[in-house]
């Protein structure tokens, strides 16, 4: 899963859960701790900083030797190039960003809409061989996706899903579904089944009881799970590059990768599109960071 999420999770303790006393307000940190953390932060953040810098440098300064850290010529041209094509219309990159939004969004919605009820069913009902089924569902995630890319490619060619957004949406949803079921089952397990029992005695059907009384309590869990699924779909590269080829279907990761490898590489454009690519995930993870922490500490991990 995306490194950015883990950072968002670990660097931002939530107020509701007071952190261990030793961490209180940062004042209790020893000098050694601070030094180590600083070094770690520099090492980890340098590539990110460099990417951001390159994206706002004039091309001359990008190639300058020695590298210019501070006194470079500022420009937003690279960002303009990400969205506006050479002729003045929409650029190919902007199309692929849009594709990424559609593919990641729809596949996440699909995985969530299918996964949440499935998780509820696994949590609430006496399903035959429940453990085996859950293990089987998880086992589909044991192997790296790249292992199945050739068979999927051949299957997709048969059914005409090659080079379509629908093809990507389906495969991402399929990969996210097991994860969604597992993570959501943890959340559903946390909600006492007796709310639904009480609702059924009140006169609601089982499904109404779920929708009216359990589902609202699952919203934080659904948000956290959806963010993980979204990030997976947004970042996915291998399937995207194998299963799509035309510019108007391609998602952003292969499109950005495609910028590198010509006779000349426009590093400014590469950096700017990478920044644009990374931003939504960071913003999203930041917005739901509270739920992410809750999700990681409460839901999936407990059982």
């Amino acid at each position: 899963m995306g490194v950015s999420v883990n950072e968002a999770v670990s660097t931002d303790p939530v107020r509701d859960h007071p952190p261990p006393a030793r961490r209180r307000g940062g004042r209790g940190r020893s000098a050694l701790e601070v030094a180590l953390l600083t070094v770690l932060a520099i090492v980890m953040l340098f590539p990110v900083l460099w990417m951001i810098e390159t994206s706002i440098k004039e091309n001359r300064d990008v190639y300058a030797i020695p590298a210019k850290f501070f006194n470079f010529q500022f420009t937003m041209d690279h960002f303009k190039d990400v969205f506006v094509g050479a002729g003045g219309g929409r650029s190919a990159l902007s199309v692929s960003f849009l594709n990424s939004v559609v593919v990641a969004g729809v596949s996440t919605v699909l995985a969530t809409v299918l996964g949440v009820p499935a998780a509820w069913a696994y949590s609430r009902f006496a399903v035959k061989a429940k453990k085996d089924q859950l293990f089987f569902i998880l086992s589909t995630r044991f192997m790296p996706p790249v292992v199945v890319v050739i068979p999927i490619f051949l299957m997709y060619r048969q059914v005409g899903l090659i080079d379509t957004e629908l093809g990507l949406i389906l495969i991402y949803a399929a990969f996210n579904l097991p994860f969604t079921i597992w993570m959501m089952k943890g959340f559903v397990d946390e909600v006492p089944a007796e709310y639904e029992d009480a609702a059924m005695l009140d006169g609601y059907t089982r499904l109404q009881a779920f929708r009216r009384f359990t589902l609202p309590l699952l919203v934080p869990g659904i948000a956290a799970t959806a963010v993980f699924a979204l990030i997976f779909s947004w970042n996915e590269f291998v399937f995207a590059i194998f299963l799509t080829s035309s510019d108007d279907v391609r998602t952003a990761p292969p499109a950005i990768a495609g910028l590198i490898g010509g006779t000349t590489v426009d590093w400014g454009l590469v950096a700017a599109s990478s920044v644009v690519f990374a931003l939504p995930v960071l913003v999203f993870a930041y917005l739901v960071r509270k739920h992410l922490v809750a999700g990681v500490t409460l839901g999936a991990v407990r059982r």
Partner: protein
């Protein structure tokens, strides 16, 4: 109408046999108490009646009609859950209103009904709070209100008073009995508190390990316990049990004492027996011919009375006495036994041998 009849309920959770052939017959309009210790299967019984538990065997009949396959909503029952199960996101008002909302009543009708419940259970001030902002006793009253707001076929109550303080519990006991009388509705009431059972019930079913031990009126269960276990569970202080056997016209105790053999027993000579003596049927003050000698072991003053522990051989007898009784441990005592009110059980099976004549 509101009769509830369950027949041969069986339910196991893995290796635990929670219900093992439970058969109960709850007459219309009765206050029916299911009494048993923790883990006896009381909650499981209620959940089975409510349709929340998939049964291994057995049937549930409501108003004479087989309802075993009905959904909980179709059974038209209301339940107070042991854990309250109040909806955490809803206000107290909405919690109480929920059964009416589910049945699409008009909001004016709902408002009136909720107001009525709130004043009945003294929770008017709490209506806009959420369950997390309530004390245990307040939650319990809200749970009661949510059940009572409707007029279902029967009310199922799972230990609804256990979390109240003693004063409130006694108050609510009276209140619930009054509500029951005024509604004329059927109550199936689960408790592990025998005082509650004896004081509120029309009928008591004593449950242990998923099996019904005895069904009867509170008096029957107290005066004629079907077996040694019921005798020990019902009654406070607990009944004293002494090993003995019958020999001609005498009962000979394992501790060496003898008592005249009561005329009512059907026990055969020589068979190992247990003599059950309740504290109020023993006396350290009266004098009679049926008596046991022992020594004072301790005094438990309880305000209105004192329980005297008397050691007979290796056994401690609990004897009810007047609060003024005094004595020093070790001093010899004569305990007079009211043999007409004593109980005899088969020491092997625990079954009562008191005979039908009492």
């Amino acid at each position: 109408m509101g009769t509830v009849a369950v027949q041969g309920l069986c339910k196991s959770f893995g290796k635990v046999q929670a219900l093992d052939g439970v058969t109960l017959d709850v007459p219309d309009g009765s206050f029916f108490v299911v009494l048993g210790p923790s883990g006896a299967g009381k909650t499981t019984t209620l959940r089975a009646i409510a349709g929340l538990e998939k049964l291994d065997a057995g049937s549930v009949r409501l108003d004479g009609r087989d309802a075993t396959a009905d959904t909980p909503a179709a059974r038209d029952l209301a339940m107070v859950f042991q854990s309250y199960a109040l909806y955490p996101r809803h206000t107290v008002y909405e919690n109480i209103a929920s059964p009416l909302r589910a049945r699409r009543r008009s909001s004016s009708e709902i408002a009136a009904a909720v107001e009525r419940m709130a004043s009945l259970l003294h929770i008017e001030r709490l209506l806009q709070r959420r369950p997390a902002q309530l004390s245990g006793g307040e939650m319990q009253r809200v749970a009661l209100a949510r059940a009572l707001v409707r007029s279902p076929r029967a009310f199922l109550m799972d230990e609804p008073l256990t979390n109240l303080d003693l004063k409130l519990r006694v108050e609510m006991r009276t209140e619930l009995t009054r509500i029951h009388r005024s509604l004329g509705a059927t109550f199936v009431y689960v408790t592990n508190d025998q005082v509650e059972a004896l004081s509120m019930a029309d009928q008591v079913a004593v449950l242990k390990d998923g099996k019904v031990q005895q069904v009867g009126t509170p008096t029957e269960v107290y005066e004629r316990p079907a077996n040694q276990w019921v005798a020990g569970f019902v009654g406070s202080p607990p009944i004293s049990l002494l090993a003995c056997h019958a020999e001609g016209d005498r009962l000979v105790g394992a501790e060496g004492w003898t008592l005249p053999r009561p005329g009512w027993t059907t026990a055969q000579d020589g068979r190992p027996l247990l003599l059950g003596l309740r504290a109020e049927d023993l006396s350290v003050e009266r004098r009679g011919d049926a008596s046991l000698s022992g020594e004072l072991y301790g005094l438990e003053p309880l305000g209105d009375r004192t329980v005297v522990d008397v050691r007979v051989g290796t056994k401690i007898l609990k004897v009810k006495a007047r609060p003024t009784v005094t004595g020093t441990p070790g001093e010899p005592l004569l305990v007079t036994v009211d043999l007409d009110r004593a109980h005899l059980f088969d020491a092997g099976t625990g079954v009562s041998l008191s005979g039908a004549g009492r």
